[in-house]
């Protein structure tokens, strides 16, 4: 299991490096240029209750799980 965790962290580190490398080539966005980026829909317009229910409901209907950037707890919907 430790080997598995190390393998995934390595992949994440590689992906991070590639994205950072790509990002560093972009124009750096200054604080005063972030008006549009602060819009509700550009940040995350899902409230916690909506995200939680959606994750739970899809976990009880679909074989796949995850991808929302947060791990989830047990749901009793085997």
């Amino acid at each position: 299991m430790v080997a598995g965790v190390v393998r995934y962290l390595s992949r994440l580190a590689i992906a991070t490096f590639l994205l950072l490398a790509a990002g560093s080539g972009c124009v750096q966005v200054k604080a005063y240029q972030r008006g549009h980026l602060a819009k509700r829909a550009m940040v995350n317009d899902q409230q916690p209750g909506e995200s939680r229910f959606t994750g739970h409901e899809r976990g009880s209907r679909e074989g796949a799980e995850g991808g929302a950037g947060q791990p989830g707890g047990g749901c009793g919907c085997n």
Partner: protein, 373 residues
């Protein structure tokens, strides 16, 4: 109805007790209705968020899942009417240390035949003048499964694994972790990627569901180990001329039960003035079946019946989800003070899927009230 009244009373109580302004918080009351062919769920919930000092935020939630006219064996062909309630509560705290934010969460979920305790920690680091944000987190879930909702004269005993064949309850431990990264690409675009990994150890079948083996029904036997991975990416782009946000996302999922899934998704969010926004979402989902899934199992093949299942989620299928969502601020109704910033939200979702669950409708209504204390 009593739950809704209790929720309304809790909100009113907190707002009435709020003294002079020192910090901010918000309370959200949400009601969700879910209906598919054999299952109906009503879920009232409360979410709260409070500033704690100048660098901390406390979050909490409580919800009730009221499941009626459903089957304990979730989607099984021989479903019988069933009714149950699940209660869940959670508390979280996050603390900002300059560019680093650290947080933790604890959650308890309980119902007659399932109990789950979940603990998690996470960290988030802002880099490159906040153009890049890296997140890392992990969780541990300790679950206990029984067949306490057995419909019949006696309670079913469970085959937890090859060494524990007739237990009253079985354990399931889930170790999970995620990494995420977001990168600003321009003043109008942000890219996000994430990797989720979880490893499950323990009982993973449904205690009530039975598979067809030869001419008989046999209780499900699932492997007791499963490792799941999800890789996701999203791109958000803001069109200033029309005040429209375009969101594209894609997730690839795989696990060692040989379930693979692809999930592309598109959203359009439109601002309508300063106080109203509306959005449309389309989500496509497709998955392969688990390597041991069969509609029927042969009675005389030990290798093929080592694991048997009747779980629709482990079959091959596709689904299409269409969603409409709208939010409006209180100022649109001429309200002032804290009520001007209150947000009323409604969501309607239709899921079309080609499996035994059938199509589903989901509706949310939520009210978020900001306050100071």
């Amino acid at each position: 109805m009593r739950l809704q009244l209790a929720a309304a009373a809790a909100i009113a109580g907190v707002l009435a007790l709020a003294p002079a302004a020192r910090a901010d918080g918000s309370l959200t009351a949400r009601g969700v209705y879910y209906k598919e062919r054999s299952t109906r769920v009503m879920q009232p919930m409360l979410d709260a968020m409070f500033d704690a000092g100048s660098h901390g935020v406390v979050t909490g939630h409580f919800l009730v899942d009221a499941i009626t006219s459903a089957s304990a064996s979730s989607g099984a062909a021989d479903a019988k009417p069933f009714s149950e309630r699940r209660y869940e509560g959670g508390l979280g705290y996050s603390h900002v240390l300059d560019a680093l934010t650290l947080g933790g969460e604890a959650k308890l979920s309980t119902e007659s035949d399932y109990r789950s305790v979940y603990l998690a920690g996470r960290g988030q680091l802002e880099l490159n003048q906040k153009n890049t944000v890296v997140g890392l987190g992990g969780g541990l879930s300790l679950d206990q499964v029984s067949a306490a909702s057995t419909q019949g004269p006696g309670m079913i005993t469970l085959r937890c694994d090859a060494d524990h064949l007739t237990e009253k309850d079985c354990g399931l431990t889930v170790y999970s972790g995620y990494g995420s990264l977001s990168q600003l690409l321009s003043p109008d675009a942000v890219l996000g990627i994430s990797v989720d990994v979880s490893t499950l150890r323990g009982f993973q079948a449904n205690p009530y569901r039975e598979a067809i083996v030869g001419e008989s029904f046999v209780p499900e036997r699932h492997p007791t180990k499963r490792t799941r991975e999800a890789f996701a990416a999203s791109l958000r782009y803001y069109l200033a001329a029309s005040r429209t946000t375009l969101i594209g996302a894609y997730r690839y999922y795989r696990d060692d039960w040989k379930v693979h899934a692809h999930t592309p998704e598109l959203r359009v969010v439109q601002e309508l003035g300063l106080a109203i926004d509306a959005s449309l979402r389309y989500r496509y989902y497709t998955q392969d079946g688990a390597y041991f899934f069969r509609d029927r199992y042969p009675a005389d093949d030990d290798a093929m019946t080592q694991f048997v299942t009747d779980d629709v989620k482990l079959s091959s299928f596709t689904s299409h989800i269409f969603e409409a969502k709208a939010g409006v601020l209180g100022e649109r109704f001429g309200l002032d003070g804290r009520w001007a910033a209150a947000r009323l939200e409604a969501i309607f979702e239709y899921a079309k899927q080609n499996n035994r669950f059938g199509n589903a409708v989901i509706a949310h209504v939520a009210l978020t009230i900001p306050f100071t204390y």
